[in-house]
Every structure is written in structure tokens, then in C-alpha cells.
Symmetry: C2
Subunit: 208 residues, 2 copies
């Protein structure tokens, strides 16, 4: 309970939680081996990771599926049902606003914004596109906790700055750029081109 949880462990918790969905219905326990298989990691890793959460299994049996789901959800804060704001109503912003997968984990898209007046007023995925000027107000009104940057690279930093100014401490960045934020603000970067380039590095090495 004293030691803090390694970041590498934190990044795997959502994968374990999802892996619980692969457990056949009717099976009430699952072993670290099963979890490891569906997460693609070593089973000792699973046991060690879960031990950081003070989750206990039963020796000779495994972990209780329901209890583990509960504990992972709690640790990840999914019980709270966080609201997110999406800035950028282009192709990606639209795809995100429409994405049904968020709701499953308790996330709600509570605002979609764009700087481009041509896009403001339209609807994407059932959400009215608002002017960026309304960001602070809506963040307050709807208790938004997470900002998603889905703009081109050159607008990303200024959007991030506004997120921070509006009081958000968590940003998910889809723009191909590294955001500069103050201490205490968490940023996760999701970058398609970077991932493709990592793949081509390996192709290159293999001589293809």
C-alpha cells in the first residue's frame, strides 16, 4: 500500500480489464496464465501487477472475475464516469465523437469544439459543434475532466494551452506534435504516423 504503482503496470491495467471480457460466461475465476495470454504478457507480470493493487487471488484457484473487474475499474477511476471535450471536428474528431467504445468505460463526450466557424453549428455524432471560445464555460458547466486534441499539428499547442487554462489536468493528444504543458498535467500521445514509422523501421531491418 505504501509503494507507488509503476507506470508500466498502470498502462497494462486497462488491458487486463478488457481481457476479463474474454473469460467464458459461467467461469467465475481466472488464473494469471489466462490473463497473461489475453494480454500478451508473462504470467508473473500479471501477478506482480495485481499485487500492486492489493488484489488477492486464491492459491490453487486464481482470481475472482467479478472482484477483479471491480477492483480494476475502481483503480482506474472508471466508476466516476468522466466527461471529455473533443477539440477538432475533422475526420478524426468526428470518428471520436461517434465512437461507441468510450461509453462502455464510463466516458461521455460532453462537448465538441472547433476554431473553424464553418464547422461550428454543425452536428457530429449527435453533438453540436461549438466555437472554441465556449470551451471554458462548457468545461465548468459540464464538469469536463479530460481534453482531447484532434486538430492539425499547428493548432495543437494553443488548444492544449486553453485546456490547461480551463483547469483540465488530463489531455489526450492525437496531433502529431509533442505538447508542452506545466507540471501536474498528464498528456498521452496517440500518433498514427509514428506507429507506422516504427513498423517500417523493422521492415527496413528485415530487408523489405
Amino acid at each position: 500500500m505504501k509503494t507507488s504503482i509503476p507506470t508500466a503496470t498502470i498502462a497494462r491495467l486497462p488491458i487486463y480489464l478488457r481481457g476479463l471480457g474474454d473469460v467464458p460466461p459461467g467461469q467465475t475465476t481466472c488464473s494469471s496464465d489466462e490473463l497473461a495470454a489475453s494480454a500478451g504478457v508473462n504470467s508473473a507480470q500479471v501477478r506482480k501487477d495485481l499485487s500492486y493493487l492489493n488484489v488477492s487471488g486464491v492459491r490453487g484457484v486464481g482470481y475472482s472475475v467479478d472482484e477483479l473487474r471491480e477492483q480494476l475499474s475502481t483503480a482506474l477511476g472508471l466508476k466516476q464516469g468522466y466527461a471529455v471535450a473533443v477539440v477538432g471536428a475533422g475526420n478524426l474528431g468526428t470518428a471520436l465523437s461517434n465512437y461507441g467504445g468510450f461509453a462502455r468505460w464510463g466516458f461521455t463526450v460532453a462537448g465538441v469544439f472547433d476554431i473553424d466557424d464553418a464547422k461550428v453549428g454543425r452536428e457530429v455524432g449527435g453533438h453540436l459543434v461549438r466555437p472554441l471560445a465556449d470551451l471554458e464555460e462548457i468545461v465548468r458547466q459540464r464538469n469536463i475532466a479530460i481534453g482531447i486534441v484532434a486538430t492539425p499539428a499547428q493548432a495543437a499547442q494553443q488548444v492544449a494551452d486553453r485546456f490547461v487554462a480551463a483547469g483540465l489536468r488530463s489531455i489526450l493528444n492525437f496531433a502529431p506534435t509533442v505538447l508542452q504543458v506545466p507540471d501536474g498535467v498528464s498528456v498521452r500521445r496517440v500518433d498514427f504516423s509514428t506507429e507506422l514509422q516504427i513498423l517500417t523501421f523493422h521492415l527496413q531491418q528485415a530487408g523489405n
Copy 2:
């Protein structure tokens, strides 16, 4: 030259390459400090990473911008201009097919596929949506090297299997699932929900 390049280094190379774009026009060299600032890492890290590529800077001056760009592009295989196939013509597949950022790094979307007959024959981002049955043929014809999975989770594994059967060794997976593939096939996973959950873990810890 002998030692292999750490995976953590490989993952940063695309970021350094992009960081070169931040160098003011007219500036022909840049220091590890500048690169570090735009990549968000330590400058010693930059120097060590570049040393794995046998890239040399000039002491007291820095690295040649043009030369470094060239060497990073070569190392990442971007000179080759790889072709990619996108499977899944939903919101995300559409956003990817439309995404202009790929071309900048030499990637071409050379085929868009869907299992759903209702979507086959439509156009997304200037690409005809083809039946999944045509995958093998188009992969061969157009020399496709990378497969992108942009389907719902339950279809993802079967799509990956077809990619592998068609001879692809590189897969970029946007479906919220862990793919099982044979040795020698590289998979990179991009998962929005996982990233959001990592952010909420920290919010949770901070008491929000």
C-alpha cells in the same frame, strides 16, 4: 554498428525526425538540447539514441539538419514509400483513408476493405471500398507491406489472420484487442480507450 538498436530508441526516432521540422528555416545545424526540447526528452538521451545510428554531430556545433533528416529517414525506411491496406471502412477507417499526414512520410493507402457488403463499392477518401475477399490479390498487385486493422474488436483477429496469410509482416491495430500473431510479425497497437483509462488512473489518484 554491431549492437542492435534498443526498441525505446526506435520509438523516438520518428519524434526526432518530426522535431527537425521545428528548426527555424535558415538554421543548418541543431543541438541535442534543441532536439530534446521538441521531443520532450533529456538531451543525453538524444545523443545516445543518435549514436546508435552512427550519426555524428560536430562538437561545439551540433548536428547537420539536412544530414540528420536524411539519416533518420533512411533508418526508418521512409525512402521506400510503403503501401498500406486499411480494413474497416467505418468512422475510423474513413478518417485514416482521408488522413493527409501519411503521404508526408511516404505512405500510400493502396487499398480499403470491408467485410460488410453494404459498404463495399462505396468511396471513402477517394478509395473504392473492396470486399475483404480481394485482400490477397490487391496486396500482391500493389505490393502492400503494412496492414491496418480498423474494425470492431470481434473482427480484428480474423482480419489479422488474413493479413498474415497474405504475407504481411507488419500490422497496425486500432481495434481494442490484443492480436495473436506468429513470430516475425510486428504489431503496434493504438487504443483510444486504453489511453483514456491511463489518464483517469492519474485523475483518480489525484482525487478528482
